[in-house]
């Protein structure tokens, strides 16, 4: 079950007004470019509460780009920030408690691996990505719109949960414009809040003991058949006298063997079939 929250794809220039903290809602802002330095003063005034970690992080990115010594090329790093929401974490019933510290967020199949903060936020720095992408991206960045456009893939791995990978499109023209979609369900996300599609049960559930399972087992069948022979047979045998009387009109003679046994059984079976 994925629940969509409010869309907040904040544009860069809006941050001028963010000193008014009441308006800030930072759940999963997509990609942010750093190009303005308005927040610098703000950061000194701001507290260091964990609540605003992504905010701080974001501003820290701002700060980097404001550094005059950095070339414009280098200043074009950006961060994909988001949040992983796992309902009722730690209450799993299969032994290992699902811990948020064991959740990994993987970008593009292993290029960047990051972990979650206590509140479930994560951020993937594409600075790091660029570093390893090498010259190709750098050149591209410097010649075009200074932001590596492209489509990236975010995967979340948490033991006990199944997450759909998320496709994140970074527009080349407008870097603050980001589109995210779950690749499994092809459903768009208005913001980067990732929730598990389902919980994963790694173990088969043992069926509670039922007498039927015992009866159904080969041994049970054997015993069952035996019981039928033991208890049902004599009952049927009782009918035998009548059948015999009807069939042959033999009179019982004391001490004389009336029938060979196989004959008796044959007749009994006949009797059964007649009854059926």
């Amino acid at each position: 079950m994925v629940e969509i929250l409010r869309a907040t794809l904040q544009k860069q220039r809006n941050f001028q007004g963010l000193k008014n903290q009441n308006r800030v809602h930072f759940d999963g802002v997509g990609v942010r470019r750093q190009s303005c330095c308005a927040a610098m003063a703000w950061i000194h005034r701001s507290g260091t509460s964990l609540l605003f970690l992504p905010l701080l992080l974001f501003f820290s990115r701002l700060l980097l780009s404001t550094d005059a010594a950095l070339s414009s090329r280098q200043g074009d790093g950006y961060t994909i920030a988001g949040r992983v929401k796992i309902p009722s974490i730690g209450t799993k019933g299969y032994g290992i408690p699902g811990k948020i510290s064991n959740v990994k967020v993987i970008l593009n199949g292993g290029q960047v691996v990051t972990f979650l903060r206590p509140d479930g936020y994560f951020s993937l720095s594409l600075f790091v990505l660029d570093l390893y992408e090498g010259i190709l991206i750098w050149n591209f960045v410097s010649h075009s719109h200074k932001v590596p456009p492209g489509t990236h893939l975010i995967e979340v791995y948490a033991i006990g949960y199944f997450f759909s990978p998320v496709r994140v499109d970074v527009s080349a023209r407008n870097p603050s414009k980001v589109q995210a979609a779950l690749t499994e369900t092809r459903r768009g996300l208005s913001e980067l809040i990732l929730e598990p599609l389902r919980e994963e049960q790694y173990y088969e559930v043992r069926e509670p003991f039922s007498p039927m399972s015992l009866v159904k087992s080969p041994m049970g069948l054997m015993v069952g058949f035996m019981l039928i022979v033991v208890f049902l047979m004599p009952k049927l045998m009782e009918n035998m006298g009548n059948i015999l009387r009807r069939c042959g009109g033999h009179k019982k003679k004391r001490g004389a063997k009336v029938f060979p046994h196989w004959r008796a059984y044959y007749l009994v079976l006949q009797g059964i079939s007649r009854q059926v």
Binding site: P165, M219, M233
Partner: protein, 975 residues
Amino acid sequence: MAIRVSLLLITLLASTLPSFSLYEDQVGLVDWHQQYIGKPKCAVFHTQKAGRKRVIVATEENVVASVDLRHGELFWRHVLGEKDVIDHLDMALGKYVITLSSGGSILRAWNLPDGQMVWESFLTAGKPSKTLLLVAEKESLIFVYRDGHLHAVSSIDGSILWNLDLATESVEVQQLFQPDGGDVLYVVGLSSLSQLHTYQVGNGELLSHDVVKDSGGFSGGIALVSSETLVGLDATKSNLICLTLKDGKLSSQVVSIHDLVPDFSGPAVILPSKLEGGFALKFSTYVLFIRAVSEGILKLVGRVENAAAISGSLALTDESQAFGLVQHDGSKINLVVKHANDWENDLLKETIEMEPHHGLVEKVFLNNYFRTDRSNGFRALVVMEDHSLLLLQQGKIVWSREDGLASIVDVSTSELPLQKEGVSVAKVEHTLLEWLQGHILKLKGTLMLAGPEDVAAIQTLRLKSSGRSKMTRDRNGFRKLLIVLTKGGKLYALHTGDGHVVWSLLLPSLRKSDVCQHPIAVFMYQWQVPHHHVLDENPSVVIIGKCGLGIDDPVVLSFVDTFSGNLIESSSLGHSIVHVIPLPHTDSAERRLHLMIDSNKQAHLYPKTPEASLIFQNDVQNVYWYSVNIDNGIISGHALDRKCVVEEDDFCFTTRQLWSIVFPVDSEKIIAATARKSNEVVHTQAKSMGDRDVKYKYVSKNILFVATVAPKATGGVGSVGPDESWLVVYLIDTVTGRILHRMTHLGSQGPVHAVFSENWVVYHYFNLRAHRYEMSVIEIYDESRAENKDIWKLIVGKHNLTSAVSVYSRPEVVTMSQSYFFTHSVKTIEVTSTAKGITSKQLLIGTSGDQVLALDKRYLDPRRSTNPTQAEREEGIIPLTDSLPIISQSYVTHALKVEGLRDIITVPAKLESTTLVFAYGVDLFFTHLAPSRTYDSLTEDFSYALLLLTIVVLVAAIFATWILSERKELRDKWR
């Protein structure tokens, strides 16, 4: 009617897909999981005021972990990304562990008790350079120097407070320090012009930048001796340069080593260990300890022979510092702890007996604790040559961890010895009574009559069940030895029953020596697998080690007995090795013949015996192999030519190139090449269809699967758009070089992971258009035998089934292919292998989440269609879906993770239904897998007690009926 019913039954049976499934109480019955961390690079202790004493380590496997000092167990552990190499580790605020990784661009803080990541900061990109980390506790700041920039990061929340460009181009920064009590930060670096640069930084601003020119120049690094003194070596390495900081300015004095040590010889190196007030100078055989007495005056305090490792200094009180020193003394080591100011007296001197297989001491980390009499006790964490980790305390090894197992290079298997008459190898033989008791307990469990104690008893009984760790061969072939070669040059034998180390051997040929500075273990092959001589010969493996990464580096072969773990022989070769071909021949001692190809394209036959040469003689013309040159995009096929003329060597052959395929460099780049495993067993070539038809698989062993991508698309996902990327796959016959099949996936890119088995290949790649991962399957069928279906032809003998097949004849093959979406990214793919190849196959997919998923091969069948016909359904063809299902019960690793997963190995057991799976990375995981369920043996669940009960009931019933019938007869007779 009956036919219809039976058809229905077959369909039902076929449609129930056996997935690997496990009940929770079965965990640990056949599987085991071991957690490792790798070779520690740096360690920080946390023992003061802590209930749980622990040491935090950062390792070469990019692991940051908290290790319990009492038992050596892990409190928590995080495996960072593959490229996220940790450079520095420190502690801040007494509650956070700080790691600096990825060439200094990622700074993370981890919560000390539970390992939760608290914050993460990204520092600017740039060239990866030498990074420095300094934690200023007083101001709760962390200073990071990286690529000319000094960053100040708040240790509370990770926000970057300021960032200063020092413009230190061409300056190699050496030290970052903050003299006591000052707010001023000093950055000291060297430039190529033998200039010493000092930067003073206060509160985010550059206060001053001094350059001191030194005529002598510097070589090597600069050591920080105290907060005012730095020491370096000059270019001749015979003089020390002592730098003193005074009023923010550095002044230098040159001190000749000759004056300190008159008889010194050889080049000196300053050891990087931080010793307060002094430093260590290493010569070839001995280490000198030198103290900075006062401004510019140095004094020799001690000389230690055979010092193996020196720890950093440890503050005992505010004034006194101590450091640890480890010396080797035969099989023992001496741990000496000394006061930094007082050389003469030892604080501690302990001699500890070491096991020889650990090798030399490489690193030592020192920590102190208070004894009951308030005196200082010391414990030392020692990193050994074989990457193991030991804690020494009070002259004893408290615990040791075999962390070399986190970096496995190659895996092989070996059978265990046969159980011989008269030799009792089993530790515990069950008596009948115990056996019965166990089964009664089990019965109680089945009937839900067991109380909690009984349940616990059942579980322990199952876990140590019936000699799973016996040291002999079992009838089912479940018990084997996994021979594991690690990066540290150590060979381990792990028992498949419970994963314990049976023996371990530090290979002498893979140890660092004067001859070989950087030995690396490359491959391991089974050398001798005795079947006929099983009672008098032991199996052995050959390990190929090299000196350095180059192609031409000298090679050493080591032969190791896998029963005892003894080195049989070690020989260095006169040639290099680029490729090893195990041949399908064995000599009279059942040693396998191997052909080793060197970089001069000459082939060498091993073992070098006349017998081997004789055996191989007839087959010289039948050996073919291929080589893949990724850089130039060339795949070429080779064959043996004739014996080498130059060397008078019977075992050397020249080779010739038969064919080559050159891929256009500007449009295709090879990213993956996979061939069939040479030891794979195929049960039958024929595949019967649902419509009573037969298809013949093309089961040639000489097929190579090659994948190429557009050169632009070699980067990761997201580096190119779908229009400029394509993936081309080839099936190439490696004898003739003929391309059997070629297929293009437009808009797709790598990385490609492929597995080849029987007549099919499955590969995993990324589809840029759908932006999802995909898996494709290609199956190849032999058409030349397609006519052999007529039974009359077979009876009369007009068939070509027995006619010889030449690889040079043009094969009439048809291929079938299909693609499916797959959710996860993949690290490796493997296929199950069984003894006879009858059991159906499962793919084992190692996902990026470090889990192993078993996926039935039937999901990857090109004959799947959306609406299979009745006949196809009967055959077990699953209706086509666009994506492959991920059934969580079919995770082989169930709720565990094989952190840092690198590879999966499957080994057939003797029991046809079962295969043994070993997945390794930083962790190790082993389990049994039955892809079509265990159809040939009773499962562990089977209740013998119930069987006994049934028999008893049946016997009782027989008696009861007998008595009844007797009575009845008697009554009848009386009537």
